[in-house]
């Protein structure tokens, strides 16, 4: 989805840039025309870069959700194992022992 969008964006950027380049370099352009063309090129590049950054930033939330999902999965591992049951039993007996001894 976004790969197609960014490819098209690159093509649009390239064709716009060529039109600007011709003005910026032609010996028939005045100094003012050249300066304006160069400024327009910088703006074109910046707009293009900012579009890419926005797409990257939008994707950050997706990465964050993925992290939460994996953390949940990792935390759930081991809860139903024989050793987990044994440790729970051991803890229960130890706590009961303490309660009875205090009485």
């Amino acid at each position: 989805m976004s790969t197609l969008t960014t490819k098209t964006a690159l093509e649009i950027y390239e064709s716009s840039r060529r039109a600007i380049d011709n003005i910026a370099r032609s010996r028939n352009s005045t100094d003012k025309q050249k300066a304006t063309a160069k400024a327009a090129r910088r703006k074109l590049v910046l707009d293009f870069i900012q579009k890419q950054r926005k797409e990257i930033e939008a994707r950050t939330d997706l990465f964050a959700s993925f992290i939460i999902e994996m953390e949940k999965l990792i935390k759930s591992i081991g809860k139903d194992s024989p050793i987990a049951a044994l440790k729970t039993l051991d803890k229960t007996v130890k706590e009961a022992k303490t309660v009875v001894e205090e009485k």
């Binding site: 703006k43 590049v45 994707r59 993925f66 990792i74 050793i83 051991d90």
Partner: protein
């Protein structure tokens, strides 16, 4: 539970646990190792690319400053600096500082942890904790301040060795089956989310670097065009004379350099003629050695700028190769994970290895002898 049927109860537990062992889960360790090795390679490359992307923020900031300086000041823009209507909640949400690179690094780290957990399950590391836990439990039971509990504990003591061996094996089998479950649960998420996000990120990250490279490249071509214009202006001061062949040759050399520079010419004859040097007009001045050396100087400066342009071109080419290789690594990682999942789904439970069964049989036999002795 009365004292007389406790040994029967214990034996029935032994047989139940032993029943688990008849189907032993075999894990595709080779495929798992291939996946892990591929992951490590991709992670290394991925983090370098992220850090490189992070390093361009200075260049982008400088570009933003340049663009801002050239922006036309309008009444609307000036007035927009003072906002009376101010949505606090919206602004607070907008101005949250997110480190986009750090989040991605964390995503790599969480999968590395997931792989570590899988390794622990595959190796059955938790099985080694069984003996220690049973010892702790037995200590707590035998030291319990109640006769009913210590009696039960005393009955279990002769079977503790067998219990440890059986529970270790049960834990090992649980680990193996959990490994399968965790791969089949986490694997699809890694494929459809993490790997898909990495692929999408790649094009955007490349585009940022490519655009910055292109800006520098085009600015270098601007300098070349300015030098070509100066060459053109100077060359056209000289009228026809015997030395003109030298001038024509020099002009041809300069044009050859310009024509062989990517992106310099557009392919449109009319536009391109304005970018190349040509000898035209009356040219009244004599063509001297000084004039020739000045023109050669322009040519040399054009060549120096061309060298800069070529370096930028090479840098872009190298970056394209890096991204291509990284994409191939990502695809390899996806393939190795898919291979692991397929092998897990296709794996059928097998009988445990003979060596594992034999040692268990000996322990079971000893426990059974103890059981018979306590029954008497």
């Amino acid at each position: 539970m009365t004292r007389s049927n406790k040994p029967v109860f214990s034996l029935s537990i032994f047989l139940m646990i032993f029943g688990i062992l008849f189907s032993c889960t075999v894990l595709p360790i080779r495929e798992f190792n291939v996946y892990k090795e591929t992951f490590d390679k991709v992670r290394l490359a991925g983090e370098e690319i992220l850090l490189d992307y992070g390093s361009v923020s200075t260049q982008i900031y400088a570009l933003e400053q340049q663009v801002a300086e050239n922006e036309k000041i309008t009444v609307e823009k000036v007035n927009a600096q003072r906002e009376l209507t101010f949505d606090i909640a919206k602004k607070a949400a907008e101005t949250v500082d997110t480190d986009h690179i750090l989040v991605r690094m964390r995503a790599w780290a969480i999968i590395a942890l997931y792989n570590e957990v899988l390794t622990g399950l595959a190796e059955g590391k938790s099985a080694s904790e069984v003996a220690g836990t049973i010892d702790s439990l037995m200590n707590n039971l035998t030291g319990f301040p109640a006769a009913e509990i210590t009696d039960i504990a005393a009955d279990i003591v002769p079977y503790v060795g067998a219990l440890k061996a059986l529970l270790e094996t049960a834990q090992l089998e649980w680990s193996r089956q959990k490994f399968i479950h965790v791969v089949l649960e986490g694997g699809p998420s890694i494929q459809t989310k993490f790997i898909a996000f990495l692929r999408d990120d790649l094009q955007n990250i490349y585009n940022v670097r490519a655009a910055l490279n292109d800006l520098s490249y085009q600015q270098t071509l601007d300098d070349i065009a300015a030098l070509a214009t100066d060459f053109h202006k100077l060359a056209n001061k000289y009228k026809n004379n015997p030395e003109i062949d030298k001038l024509v040759k020099l002009t041809d050399q300069v044009n050859h350099l310009l024509k062989s520079t990517p992106d310099y010419l557009s392919g449109d004859e009319e536009t391109d003629s304005e970018l190349l040097a040509s000898l035209e007009g009356e040219g009244k001045e004599p063509y001297s050695d000084l004039a020739h050396s000045q023109l050669v100087q322009f040519k040399n400066e054009i060549m120096a700028k061309l060298s800069e342009a070529q370096q930028l071109n090479s840098a872009l080419g190298a970056y394209q190769n890096t991204m291509l290789n990284y994409r191939k690594l990502i695809d390899e990682m996806a393939r190795s994970l898919r291979n692991l999942e397929t092998n897990i789904i296709d794996a059928k439970p097998q009988a445990p290895p003979a060596k594992e069964l034999q040692s268990l049989y000996i322990i079971m036999r000893q426990s059974y002898e103890t059981f018979k002795a306590t029954r008497r």
